[in-house]
Symmetry: C2
Subunit: 398 residues, 2 copies
């Protein structure tokens, strides 16, 4: 049969993520890949998880294997709430929580609950391709707002909110942003919140990397500043525990709870119970902060090594961010360069990165930036890969 | 802030499932609950899963805990494909597969890919509340077609397809249907497929209970009859392995693959890898058919016991289905009865069931049927609960 005529309007324009296609190349063993976004596998607490699985399947196997409830596994929610109150200063008496199957599902659910086809979503430009695609599958109108080392440009954000009355949501990764590595300043965060209140829109604060700071001072989450319920916060276990277990949590004002829970229920009933129990016991019985500190050390070392190689090998006309945490560096080449075609040249030289257009609201427009990831590469590959990239860049821009 | 004005049109009309509210009552220890839909926990292969977890976390922990791909874990897909070809006669050379986080996610993804707001979905009347709610969250127009002991009434199905040009999909649970327990005959299945071809609509064949036959002869899946790609098949591990692990699979013509994979990617990136590995090893290293045979024995015994108690205790004016498998019996009272108010009386007498209106396209219309579940109750509770229900019914209809 002819499926083309059958596809919904909202899905017609959505294409497979370019990153996934790049992964197919980048996954080859002879390629040095800076294209990924995976946590370092050395950071997975394998022995603890093994012990916990045995305990769960000995002590409460039926709870782990039977249906659970849509909101989430209560003991895990308790552990997360404690952490959010103590470490993140988020008032959990005014908010509700739902455990979701990864941050992306949180973004999907919130979009489902808020967005009609044609409604507007403001995104940082550049932003995370995964969520941009989520918004596209709801036929949202995307409005990109440029970012700099202090986060979203709030003047342009206000102009955008003023101009487009269809906007219902601002999507932001304020800390160690994907792909830029930048962190929004406290001033930017306060301004964003004030604008959300003024124009009555919801901020979706996506914070998967927030605990991965390896230098500088923590900046409060936007949610911790929010007294009016304008912020929906999404935290994740993917970068601090395990992405394969698909665990994240959404925190939102009670007024949104019913629709988010119904949405979760109609989407996949509930999040994997066994995984929720593993995380709950890990938080209760082990020291996750110790494990996160280990990840931070790994990323600090790799980030500093990559930056020092870049300082040495990249031509002066090439600029890049110097992240204080997270797993990404954003590289900007002289204007007019198309990093998509540069990427193809780089792959021929056995180095992969993600071209910047991938992260833009308009993915068809050539982009002179690209994203580098340092979280999983051993030292010698970081050194070698940046050397190769440096030569390629020097052949063009020196 | 006022969220009401913020909620999307598609979510405005969707309410929390009545079953969930009933569960809150039914979960109390002094209630005999026939309201659930859970598999018997005795059927969970706990020891095998414990051994498998240990093996996985010893031999390939990083694969289990790291990100996976959206389509699914390849070794699990291989095992399922073999089973679908050998046991279900489904041609996997013409079809693609995606592993999803439970059948409901399969329904959600297919709806996302096909349905625009206002498009029509045909449902069996009664049908599974979970998927009806999924369709509602996409603002689909629901068209109920009555069912009988041979499945959907295909004359009314054809009338419906002829009349409503907006219909894009037929949703069916042809085998041991939830909530009726009925199984569509081969003739009904062939007719449904022919109508799908004639009117160019997709059949979503949801088959979570298909392997739980305890009497009578297997009927081929609609997907096994499909040579034109009109059927999307959803199989599940929830009733034959573990629901808590959230594992199901969608099988569809290659022409639908790109959009379904992109939809999965934008929804929750991929299904829990650890769980997929557990199921893959279980299928490879253990005998799932032996485990399923054990479940069948449990359900046969409980179903026969419940039916014999009903034969003894229920008044003659009350009719009910006699399922050949699955986990549900559908009870019909004299016309004009409202089983929602009856349910409240039953709960006062410490017995719970699900009133029939829950399973209808129009949930606000009173319904004279209700659903009984027998899969998790011990004998003495089945006997006692049916006795109490019988007395209540006799006080009204004898």
């Amino acid at each position: 049969m002819n499926y083309e005529s059958m596809i919904s309007e909202k899905m017609k324009g959505v294409k497979a993520s370019a990153i996934r296609e790049i992964f197919k190349v980048a996954g080859k063993p002879d390629i040095i890949s800076f294209a990924g976004g995976l946590p370092a596998p050395e950071s997975f607490p394998v022995e603890a998880i093994k012990k916990i699985c045995e305990d769960i399947l000995t002590q409460e196997p039926v709870t782990a294997l039977q249906y659970g409830i849509s909101e989430g596994y209560a003991p895990l929610m308790e552990e997360i709430k404690k952490r959010l109150e103590e470490k993140f200063n988020i008032d959990m008496t005014a908010n509700e929580m739902v455990i979701v199957s990864g941050s992306q599902q949180g973004a999907d659910l919130l979009t489902k609950v808020l967005i009609n086809e044609g409604d507007g979503v403001v995104c940082e430009e550049p932003s995370f391709i995964g969520c941009l695609n989520t918004f596209r599958t709801y036929k949202a109108e995307l409005y990109g707002v440029p970012t700099n080392e202090n986060g979203m440009d709030t003047d342009i954000l206000e102009e955008t909110l003023k101009k487009h009355k269809n906007i219902k949501m601002i999507y932001t990764i304020p800390t160690f942003q994907n792909p830029s590595g930048n962190t929004a300043s406290l001033e930017t965060r306060k301004k964003m919140l004030a604008l959300a209140q003024k124009y009555n829109v919801i901020i979706m604060e996506d914070n998967p990397y927030g605990e991965l700071r390896f230098t500088g001072e923590d900046v409060p989450t936007i949610k911790s500043l929010d007294k009016t319920g304008h912020v929906v916060y999404i935290g994740s276990f993917s970068k601090v525990f395990s992405p394969g277990l698909r665990l994240a949590y959404m925190v939102f004002d009670k007024g949104l709870a019913e629709k988010i829970v119904v949405g979760k229920q109609a989407t996949d009933v509930h999040t994997n119970v066994f995984s929720q129990m593993i995380a709950a016991r890990y938080l209760k019985e082990y020291d996750i902060d110790e494990s996160i500190a280990k990840s931070r050390d790994i990323y600090k070392h790799r980030c500093e090594l990559m930056l020092s190689c870049m300082d040495k090998c990249f031509p002066k006309s090439v600029t890049y961010t110097r992240p204080e945490g997270g797993i990404f560096i954003w590289v900007t080449l002289p204007e007019g360069t198309d990093t998509l075609s540069l990427m193809k040249e780089a792959v021929e030289k056995k180095v992969a990165f993600v071209p910047g257009n991938t992260f833009m609201t308009d993915i068809d427009k050539p982009c002179n930036s690209f994203r580098l990831n340092y979280s999983t590469m051993p030292d010698e590959k970081i050194i070698k890969g940046i050397e190769i990239l440096g030569e390629l860049l020097k052949s063009k821009f020196d």
